[in-house]
Amino acid sequence: MQVIQVKCPKCGNPIYSKQKDTVFYCTTCGTMHIRNGGVQVLDVEIGDFNKNAPQDRVYVPFWRMYSTVVINNVRSEGGGFQKLTSWFREGDNSGNLFIWVPASEMEIERFKNMAMDFTLNPPPYNTRMDFGTVPRLPTVMRQEEAKEMADFVVVTIEAEKPGVLQYLDYTLTVHDAKLIYLPFVSTQQGLVPAF
C-alpha cells in the first residue's frame, strides 16, 4: 500500500479538498480527473445557477452519455406507441440521444426519476468555468457503471409507456460520457433544480 499526494495531471499543482470524492478537481486550472487503474482527465461541464436561485446551492454530478439506440424488435401487450421509436425519424428504428444518469449517492426512486426526467427532457442550462464557492456532491458512480445504467434507462423508457412490455431486442452504443455538474438548491422537499 502506498499513499501519494494527488496532483493535477495538467498543471502539476497539488489538490486540496475537505471532502472525499472519486473525482479530483484542480482549483488552479479547473481540470478534473479520476484515478481508476490510471489517471484519466474527464470532460466536464458546470451548469450556471439561475440568478434568482436561493442560497442553499449545491452542484449535483450527472453522467451524460451520447448514445445510439437501435430497436430491432419490440413486443408489448395492451398496445401503445413505442417511446423511443417515436423520437426517431419516421420509419427509422434507430436514433441518437443523451442519456442522463445521476452520479452521486441518492435515494433509489429519486435516482430513477431524475435519470428518466433528464433523458426525456434534457435540462437547459448555461455553463460556467468553475464552481465558485458552491459545494458539490461527491461522485460515487464510476463511468463503467454509468454506461450499464444507461442500458437500464433505455429499457425503462420503453417499459414505462402504455402497455406491458414483453420483449425488447435492441442495441445501445455509448459514444462518450461527460460529467455534468448541474445546479440545485436544497429545500425541505429535497434537491430542486436551479438552472
Partner: protein
C-alpha cells in the same frame, strides 16, 4: 468502522489514518487530497461482543425448552464448554437495476370447463440487496450467513478473542453476491414465465466482518451436542438437540390417522365434488409426508444451516409449498 492503518502524509509528514479498503483520504493537517495506490484491500469490521458466558448459557438453556426437543433436556443437559470466537463473514450490498417481463398463467374453472388466462407482467427491479456469507469453513457450527447487521463495532475484543481464519476469496464472494442478488430480484419480480430480462447488478465494496459467536457444548445422556449463541443479540443461532421418542410416537399415530381420514373423506366426496376430494387428498398427503419427516429426523432437532438433516419445521412448509404450488401459482390442481 474499519481497520485503520497509520501512515504519514507524503506532503506534510503529518500522521494520517487510512481506513482499509478506501482509496482516498484527506490529510487533516495540510488538507492535501491523498490517494491510496496498490491493493485497496478489504474493509474489515469487527463487532463488539456484548454478552457474557452466563448470558450465553441462560440463552442456551432457554432454547433447550423450546420445540420438540427432549422434555428432560433442561434438567439433564450439562454445559461442558462455553467460549466465544470470532467468525469472519463477507458482507456487501448490491444494487440491482433492471426489468423482468413475462406473464403469469391462471387457470379458472366454472365447473363445466377450465380456461387459462395469461396475465402479462412487467416488473421494475430497483433496490439494494444485502449479502453475507461465511468466509471460513464453519465446521459443524450450522452458520452460513450473518443474521444481524446492527451492533457496536470495536477493535479491542478482536485482538483478544480467538478468530477463525478467512479461507475463501473476495472474488468468489463477489460472484456469490451477484448470483444471490439476481436470484432475489427474480424472486421479488414474481414473473413465472419470463420473456424478457434486463438486469444489472452493481456490488459495492466488499467488507470482512468479524462477528462474535459463543459456542456452547453440552451433554445429554452421555451424548455430546452443541449450539451457538449470537454474541451481539444473545439469541441462539444454531444448534443440535436430542429429540423426544414420545413426540415421535404421537406424531406417527396422529399423522397417519388424520392423513388416512382425509384420504378416505376424499374418496367419499369424489363423486360429488372433485375439487374438495383433491383438496382432501393433498392435505392428507402433506400431513403424511410431514409425519414421515418428523419420524425420520425427530431423534435429533437441528436449527441453523446444517448440511445434514435433522427435523426442521421449515421442512413441512416446503412440502406444503411444493404440493400447493399449482394452487397458489396457477389455480390448477390437475398439475399436482
Amino acid at each position: 468502522m474499519g481497520i485503520e492503518v497509520g501512515l504519514n502524509c507524503p506532503a506534510c509528514s503529518g500522521a494520517i489514518k487510512v481506513v482499509e479498503g478506501e482509496t482516498t483520504v484527506n490529510c487533516q493537517y495540510c488538507g492535501s487530497m491523498l490517494f491510496v495506490e496498490g491493493d485497496a484491500g478489504v474493509t474489515t469490521i469487527s463487532f463488539k461482543n456484548m454478552i457474557t458466558r452466563e448470558t450465553a448459557v441462560i440463552s442456551s438453556a432457554s432454547w433447550w425448552k423450546k420445540g420438540f426437543k427432549a422434555r428432560d433436556l433442561k434438567r439433564v443437559g450439562q454445559v461442558t464448554e462455553c467460549y466465544p470466537i470470532y467468525i469472519p463473514f463477507w458482507s456487501t450490498t448490491t444494487r440491482v437495476a433492471g426489468w423482468i417481463c413475462g406473464y403469469e398463467e391462471r387457470t379458472h374453472s366454472d365447473g363445466k370447463r377450465t380456461y387459462t388466462e395469461r396475465i402479462p407482467k412487467e416488473e421494475l427491479i430497483l433496490r439494494d440487496y444485502r449479502f453475507s456469507e461465511i468466509a471460513c469453513d464453519p465446521g459443524d457450527l450450522g452458520i452460513r450467513k450473518m443474521r444481524n447487521i446492527d451492533g457496536e463495532t470495536a477493535l479491542t475484543d478482536f485482538q483478544t478473542i480467538p478468530t477463525f481464519e478467512s479461507t475463501t476469496s473476495k472474488d468468489d464472494a463477489f460472484a456469490h453476491a451477484k448470483e444471490s442478488a439476481m436470484a432475489n430480484a427474480r424472486s421479488d419480480a414474481h414473473v413465472p414465465h419470463i420473456t424478457f430480462e434486463n438486469v444489472h447488478v452493481f456490488p459495492e465494496s466488499m467488507s470482512m466482518v468479524y462477528y462474535p459467536i459463543w459456542v456452547v457444548r453440552y451433554t445429554y445422556r452421555d451424548r455430546m451436542y452443541l449450539n451457538t449463541v449470537d454474541g451481539v443479540t444473545g439469541s441462539v443461532l444454531s444448534g443440535r438437540a436430542p429429540g423426544d421418542p414420545l413426540f415421535q410416537s404421537l406424531a406417527v399415530t396422529a399423522g397417519t390417522s388424520i392423513g388416512g381420514l382425509l384420504g378416505a373423506t376424499g374418496i367419499i366426496v369424489a363423486s360429488s365434488s372433485g375439487e374438495v376430494a383433491i383438496g382432501c387428498f393433498v392435505v392428507g398427503l402433506i400431513i403424511m409426508v410431514g409425519t414421515y419427516l418428523f419420524f425420520r429426523g425427530g431423534s435429533e432437532i437441528t436449527e441453523g444451516d446444517f448440511s445434514d438433516r435433522g427435523f426442521k419445521l421449515g421442512d413441512l412448509k416446503n412440502v406444503a409449498s411444493q404440493l400447493t404450488q399449482g394452487r397458489v401459482g396457477g389455480n390448477n390442481w390437475g398439475d399436482i
